[in-house]
């Protein structure tokens, strides 16, 4: 794991996204702060509805129109504030500086265009060139993501490709413009384990080659443990814990993180009863005081129900933050 020590590539501070619905408004992204350095992989972990994907989309400023908007915070890419860019400027950033790999390879490729057309479209937008060059570069990109016989595949329609192949094409689109950051939103969920392993290895290799930063959004602790350098754990729109992978797996500070890790079946070792987290996450639009995890927390006391816990430095070195009253007490 190479980890560069220079200034963060991407720095997010106190980011907040508001969603307005008829039933009321709420914050799926609520005061996020995190950073990614080049060559670094940040994992954003959380269960359904925790706001992971919303975080990803807010980074490229592609939230659903009308319904959602960024209300506060700052997103700096290489020191440039993304939130103050015009839409046209932002469009130049997308694809070329920040790329994205979406969840479902079945649906994230346009069925009406060939793989090559879809790759070269991104290329043309950010570094135009003649058609033949674009094609050659598209084939190059496919070769980079280890697609066999790229000069044939380039003319295939998505329907003619297997799931793993499609996800590679999506990857090729993402890396084609050599972005600084790739946001990968659960890119392997629908893939077989073997294909998943190949794909993740590919991402790591590409990262080592280019030094790009990766933000990996997932609910799979296996991926987090194997791929990421740092983790952000989300619960109900908030970051409840963040830090390096080693620390969090070794000494989870937040009861939620701890329970989650305990709930994952392991490949080796003791096969006892798995830990469970009883109850359901709160309803977003209903008023809430205190820690949102309190109703499901085994260790919650009165204060947890009434006051929102502050974010505290769990290990005292600024590398491991958690938002829990119990951490403060320790």
């Amino acid at each position: 794991m190479t980890q560069s020590q220079d200034a963060p590539l991407l720095e997010v501070k106190d980011l907040r996204v508001e969603i307005s619905t008829k039933a009321g408004s709420f914050f799926p992204v609520n005061g996020h702060s995190f950073s990614v350095r080049s060559g670094e992989t940040l994992g954003i972990v959380g269960e359904s509805g925790s706001g992971k994907s919303m975080t990803a989309m807010s980074l490229v400023r592609l939230l659903p129109k009308h319904a959602a908007r960024i209300t506060q915070g700052s997103i700096k890419l290489n020191g440039r504030e993304l939130l103050s860019l015009s839409e046209a400027e932002m469009r130049k950033v997308r694809g070329s500086e920040i790329a994205m790999i979406l969840q479902d390879p079945q649906t994230s490729l346009n069925p009406a265009f060939t793989a090559g057309q879809q790759i070269s479209e991104a290329l043309r937008l950010h570094s135009p060139g003649p058609r033949s060059t674009l094609r050659a570069r598209a084939i190059d990109a496919l070769r980079k993501v280890k697609v066999a016989a790229p000069e044939h595949r380039v003319d295939n329609y998505p329907s003619e490709l297997s799931g793993g192949m499609r996800q590679r094409v999506v990857g090729a689109i993402a890396i084609s413009c050599e972005p600084k950051i790739i946001i990968a939103d659960e890119p392997t969920t629908s893939l077989d384990v073997t294909v998943q392993a190949q794909y993740l290895r590919l991402l790591s290799e590409l990262q080592q080659e280019t030094g790009m930063g990766i933000i990996f959004i997932t609910h799979d602790f296996g991926i987090v443990a194997n791929l990421c350098h740092k983790i952000v754990v989300m619960y109900f729109g908030r970051i409840v814990e963040s830090g390096t992978v080693e620390r969090i797996f070794a000494r989870p500070a937040h009861p939620y993180t701890e329970a989650l890790i305990g709930a994952v079946p392991k490949l080796r070792g003791h096969k006892g009863r798995l830990r469970t987290i009883e109850g359901q996450p709160p309803i977003p639009t209903e008023p809430l005081s205190g820690c949102p995890f309190a109703p499901r927390c085994e260790k919650a006391d009165n204060r947890c129900f009434n006051e929102l816990p502050p974010t505290v430095d769990a290990d005292g070195d600024g590398e491991h933050l958690a938002s829990c009253w119990r951490v403060l007490e320790q």
């Binding site: 008829k22 039933a23 359904s48 509805g49 994907s53 659960e186 969920t189 609910h219």
Partner: protein, 291 residues
Amino acid sequence: MAETSPNAPIAPTFWSKASDLPLIPIGLLLIVFIIPAFFAQWIAPHDPYVPNLGARLQPPVFFGGTWEYALGTDRLGRDILSRILHGAWYVLAVSMIGIAVGVVVGTTLGLVAGYARGWFDGLVMRLVDISLALPAMLLALALAAAIGASFLSVVVVVGFALWAYFARQVRAEVLLLRNSDFVARSQVAGASHVRILFRHILPNVTNTVVVLATLQVGIAIMLDASLSFLGIGIPRPTPTWGLLVSDGRDFIATDWWISFFPGLAILLTVMSANMLGDWLRERLDPRQRQI
């Protein structure tokens, strides 16, 4: 992982449901269509059939007429308002029975065709093609010429014109449903084909059918109007809206109110039914795409 499943509408609370009700179309439908259909004989100010030759071609109130004939009178001095109110019942009957015929025939055939597949499916789809290939208007003309125009012939034509749409749509849905996990689960449980069709698949196509039926109200009323235009609608003196518009069409430029107000009634009803259909569609089945 599916963060939200398309099959899972968020359980609406009572108030979100109520405030969401499309009050305008429902209100319009009630005022223009439903209430007149059932209560015309009490609320209509005049007899819709009896000519009053002394009051021919009275303009509507505010256009030189009086409140006595608020929407004016026709060539025989009959009150337009009363005729519209009384006509509502027939329009309701034709569209409802016609659509019911279409729904029953179309849904049954679509259901069985989609579930059984094979030759029966092929046959039904060919019938659908045939039905769509025969312009309803021509069929109506031929039918009317053959057996005479009557309430029955209009209903038959409306039903014939509509069933294929239901059959097509229902079949398409059934094709998806029959491969769904819950149908597989019922098969595992040992449910018979009949049980699977009627307990499991049918309830899941009712949304589609309801939405489609609402949207077909417009087509049914339009068809009725066109048949009246060709002189093969429900026979006189029944004041169906189609007949009223059709009868007044010669006077659009001069005594415009004769056809304008029945036309407006058609417009408001069809529009409301469509709006209601749209609302139901968004409500019941966001994925359905049908005209």
